[in-house]
Amino acid sequence: MNLTRLRLPAHLPVSPLAAWVGAAISFFFLVLLLGFLPAVARDGEVIRLAIEWIPALGIDLSFRIDGLSLLFGLVISFVGLLIFVYSSAYFRGDPEATRILIVLVAFMLAMLGLVLADHLIALFVFWELTTITSFILIGTRHEDALARRNALQAILVTAGGGLCLMAAIILLGEAAGSYQLSEIITRDLTDHPHYSAILTLVLLGCLTKSALFPFHFWLPNAMAAPTPISAYLHSATMVKAGLYLLARLHPSLAGTDLWFWSLAVTGGITAVWSSIQALKQRDLKLMLAYTTVMALGTIALFLAADSGKALMAALVFLLVHALYKAALFMVVGNLDKAAGSRDWSVLKGLRRFMPWTFAAAVLAALSMAGVPPFFGFIGKEILIAASLAVPAGTFWFTGAVVVSAALMAGVAFFLMTSPFFGDRATPPKKRLSAAMVVPPLLLAALGLIAGPFASFLPITPLLQSAALSLSREAPTIELTLWHGFGPVLYISIGILLAGAALARFFVPVHRVLYHSPGKLSLTADRVYDGILHGLLSLAEVLTLVLQNGRQRFYVMTIFSTLVGLIGLTALNRSFLPPALLGGIEGIPLYQWILCAFIALSVLLIVFSHSRMLAICALGTAGTGIALFFVIFSAPDVAMTQFMTEILVVIILTLVTLRLPVFHNYAPGFGAGRIRDAAIAIASGVCVSALMLSMVHEPVDLSVSDYYGANSYTEAKGRNIVNVILVDFRAMDTLGEIVVVAIAGLACHALIKLRRYSRGQRFDARNLP
């Protein structure tokens, strides 16, 4: 921390007021959305609201409330309410609290907008708003260089994915003929010619947002954010946005092998791989981050399928996860605040000092492990049942679910025991206020209540109507604890036993994994670094090659491009240069000599060591060309050319007299010279070939004909050039004369200025 920062006062007052404002706003939305619950969940209605926005292009700001958006909206506002209550205590005394909480409110509103929007453009706007606000929230602890890097990483990955989503949205709109989600989901786009492009881009957008393999790496890194933010953004809401969109587009995009396998593979790998990663962590928050990635992977896995059962399973698990995971994050936040650490090897025996936090941890972890009668048990049962019922890839589905669920159970049992039991009791430094204990306890208790009473609460109809938004096949699944004996129950019990065993031997397993060779966890992160590094190196090379500051190179590029463009255009229209040597025998000898004279002058320019000689040679080359004008009876043009050549030689000579000797000028036959020669010759050949082919093209003679016909009758003159100069375009000639006169005057003024002010004004020799 540097001194300037210390001297500055905090801009905004230290006050948890913003937290209560946020809580009030989320409560308002919670109540508002609950009001829609009967109509949507019981009667299956779809409510639409629209405000005109850009009428000329048919874009309006429309919202759609159906089962799916209501489910997400309720989770967002309810978890938001608890998070704001929690934040009121968590951020107490933090000088940046107000700023963080204002952004958090903005984030929540954007998130609600995202899940409720009916127009794809509006959805995308809210989507990117969540990206921006989360960027600001992750980087909150900016004293830490790692936090800064991670904030940038999170936004680069998600904003990059967002731009892909923009392309996807444009393609979707074109394919479906509408940007309204209500319209799009009624259409089956799987046969559309751009289906695979749309799907790829949608997947890129959603996988990056939801931190699914191979873009999973940013989420654990984003845990640099304060705990309430991690709990809200990176567990309950933002990371689910990708899943929301996949679920939303399910009716029009799902049902193909591409959809099925890309999501199944991604989801499966993410679930299993991140559960293993969770075991490797010492930081409890990172452990939770990886279990979150596992949950996201599992939901993605089940979104792959097409059956009502699988989709229902995905949604139930989504709700289960939102309840226990946010609670666990807050528990870890409490441990961190009170005991000052998140490392499980340090935290021991806290049960006596933090009984309510302990209670919340136990309730949430039991739901996470899937112990009856918690809601988590129902969630796990339905996952297993659905995985056994998928028509293709049953083994893959069941395997992924069983392995990841067993590992999760192990992590859950470990989480509720390790920090709270044991002998080495480290007394906590501070006491926690009620605002930090009640929200996790409430969430975790809901997980207990929702289990046995799932059929009585409006949860079942809500989930069913949400599943109905995904697929036309109505799911008929009872959310009850007891389904009778069968493979599902046996697998479920097996998972719990395996989890208990894992928790018992957690420390040795952790040690083995921690020291395992090839830290896989960093691979994707390394790839990200590699890509970034590669981009920067590429940029460096590009800059060195293309933008090296040397004028000679710039000119070279311009000419080579020009040659290329002309060649391309000629080839494209299949113009062939005419026989180059046709009619060559008719050229008289003196013209050959003149040609040789010009060619020699040009060679002299190129190879001369003296600037003066080069300028003179330029003059002789020009004179040679002027002589051609004389030969081909254009004396007036020739005269102009002579005058210009003489003037140029004189002026350039005068200028060179004032210039220092050219030391670096070393003509030779280096690679640079050969390259320059190649470009020069290519330009010359190209232009000559063009000229030769143009000779055969008929010139539009209307202008010449006009003057030919009219010069005598209108202007009474026989010399057409004269007549044009003094009669037809007399005003132009007058203008030219005036310009030349003014230029002469200006030259005179400049020369006078130099003479009078020498030594007093700007002197070129003093330049660095």
């Binding site: 921390m1 540097n2 300037t4 920062r5 926005w53 850009i54 000329a56 453009i121 706007v125 989507w127 990117e128 990206t131 600001i136 980087g139 900016h142 800064r148 904030a151 940038l152 680069l156 904003a159 990059g160 731009l163 892909c164 923009m166 392309a167 444009i170 709109g173 074109e174 751009h194 970034l532 590429l538 940029a539 460096e540 590009l542 293309l546 933008q547 500051g549 004028q551 190179f553 710039y554 000119v555 590029t557 311009i558 491009t561 020009l562 463009l565 002309i566 391309l568 255009t569 000629a570 494209n572 229209r573 113009f575 063009l690 143009m694 093209e697 010139v699 539009d700 003679l701 700007f762």
Partner: protein
């Protein structure tokens, strides 16, 4: 030009006539007052620009020609000219203090800006190859001098000479192209050329070659890759006030001119120029995105950023219909506002009364100047094309038009390069918000700079609320080119 001179026939060019007279009057006045009167001349220049804009707004924007057909006024030209005048106004207003601080307080500055502006206004109204050339040169000559305006520094002198040499080459090519077209189409008038080309059964080689040369000349002015080489050097070397002008106005004018030329005389050759413009657009997007990644100098970075923005705008040109041009106009409008705001911040980057230009100098701006940092962040997010900011809509409409017309590859390339470009914009935001504070900047006393920043930030932030009027203005203006 035969017959009696009638003033009423020249009324379509009234704004230009007024601006020309005002510039000349100010030049003469300045010559008598001397450099101590720079401030007065600047204010007079602001008034002249404002009056010109008022005259322009008061005129009928329907299509009308002046005698001889060299100059055309229509709604396309009208909108572009208004944008040009607004840009000139902002540049002159923001420069007054800067000129003083940098001790380049010369009265020629506002006068040259006005002459450049006059050239640009004539450019977008050109209806003849010759008026095009003369207008372009009027603009370029003023800009050559402006690039080297801080002639006591080697950088500025180098910028001026580089720009001049390359500009002269490109002008030569343009002229060569014009002469070929004149020789083989028999006219320099846009309408006549269009007419002749439509009548030809097959486009002949010399005309194609002429078109290539003309395109090269114009590509240089919009700094499309590979004719962009001068841009980073000039942006960095020229005084910041001049860089602001370069970034804001000539790009817009040259792009409008390019559109007028391609959709006027060469409308019949769309397949031919489409390929060349595609090449330019793709190269500009790629180079603009990648080359900017490693830049530390913010002016140089903005140069590459402007190159990539021109690349995106060119996609709209390739689409070659009314919607495409409309999306380009919208893009240019948004681009101008964003760039003006960013340069207002760059102009205010001073420490111990010295201008600083490195991105690292912005570190911790969020703590020393929270509002400036917030506005700048909004502008940068907008440039990266992140919604809900205005820049997103610019890109969005371009890509929609491209997809509509079936140019999927271009749209995808545009998105991919946007992702790369987002990196360097967001890196600046990261530096401003999260890095350790650098020394705070000198207090920004420039009222106009703050006003420009405020208006620009307000525009990008609130565009989403009322996008309709701006979008209709841009799309309506483009219709003028397609009514024949």
């Amino acid at each position: 030009m035969q017959g009696e001179f009638e003033f009423s026939a020249w009324v379509p060019a009234l704004p230009e006539i007024f601006l020309a007279l005002a510039s000349m009057a100010l030049l003469v006045a300045g010559a008598f007052i001397g450099n101590k009167g720079t401030r007065v001349v600047c204010y007079a220049a602001l008034w002249s620009i404002a009056v010109t804009a008022l005259i322009l707004i008061g005129r009928d924007w329907g299509r009308s020609l002046v005698p001889g057909g060299m100059f055309v006024m229509d709604s396309f030209a009208g909108l572009t000219k208004l944008m040009i005048l607004a840009g000139l106004f902002a540049v002159v207003a923001m420069s007054i203090r800067y000129l003083h601080q940098e001790q380049i307080n010369r009265f020629e500055f506002p006068v040259l800006v006005m002459f450049a502006g006059l050239g640009m206004m004539l450019m977008v109204s050109a209806n003849d190859m010759l008026s095009l050339y003369v207008a372009l040169e009027l603009q370029s000559l003023a800009l050559y001098v402006l690039a080297a305006f801080h002639r006591d520094t080697a950088y500025s002198a180098e910028a001026g000479i580089k720009y001049f040499v390359l500009g002269a080459i490109s002008s030569g090519m343009l002229l060569f192209g014009i002469s070929l077209i004149y020789g083989f189409a028999g006219s320099t008038n846009f309408d006549m050329i269009a007419h002749r080309l439509e009548d030809m059964e097959a486009i002949r080689l010399p005309i194609l070659v002429g078109l290539v040369f003309v395109l090269v000349g114009l590509a240089f002015k919009i700094s499309a890759v590979p004719f962009h080489m001068w841009t980073p050097d000039v942006y960095q070397g020229a005084p910041t006030a001049v860089t602001t002008l370069f970034a804001l106005v000539p790009k817009v004018a040259a792009m409008a001119l390019l559109i007028r030329v391609l959709f006027g005389p060469f409308a019949a050759m769309a397949p031919d120029w489409g390929q060349i413009v595609t090449l330019l657009a793709v190269a500009s997007m790629i180079v603009g995105a990648f080359a900017a990644l490693g830049q530390e100098n913010i002016k140089r970075l903005m140069a590459f950023s402007s190159i990539s923005h021109m690349g995106y705008a060119l996609i709209g040109v390739i689409v070659a219909d009314e919607g495409g041009v409309g999306s380009v106009m919208l893009y240019l409008l948004i681009y101008m506002v964003m760039t003006a705001g960013v340069f207002a911040v760059i102009l205010s980057m001073r420490r111990d009364n010295l201008a600083v230009e490195s991105i690292g100098d912005l570190a911790g701006l969020a703590r020393t100047r929270p509002f400036v940092a917030f506005a700048m962040a909004a502008l940068l997010f907008s440039m990266a094309g992140v919604p809900p900011l205005a820049g997103f809509f610019g890109k969005f409409f371009i890509f929609v038009e491209a997809v509509d017309a079936g140019y999927y590859v271009l749209a995808v390339l545009g998105v991919l390069t946007s992702v790369v470009a987002a990196y360097y914009y967001l890196r600046i935001v990261k530096v401003m918000f999260f890095d350790e504070s650098a020394e705070p900047f000198d207090p920004n006393k420039s009222l106009s700079g703050r006003a420009v920043l405020f208006v620009a930030a307000l525009f990008v932030l609130t565009f989403i609320a009322w996008p309709q009027p701006v979008i209709s203005i841009a799309y309506d203006a483009s219709k003028a080119l397609f009514i024949q």
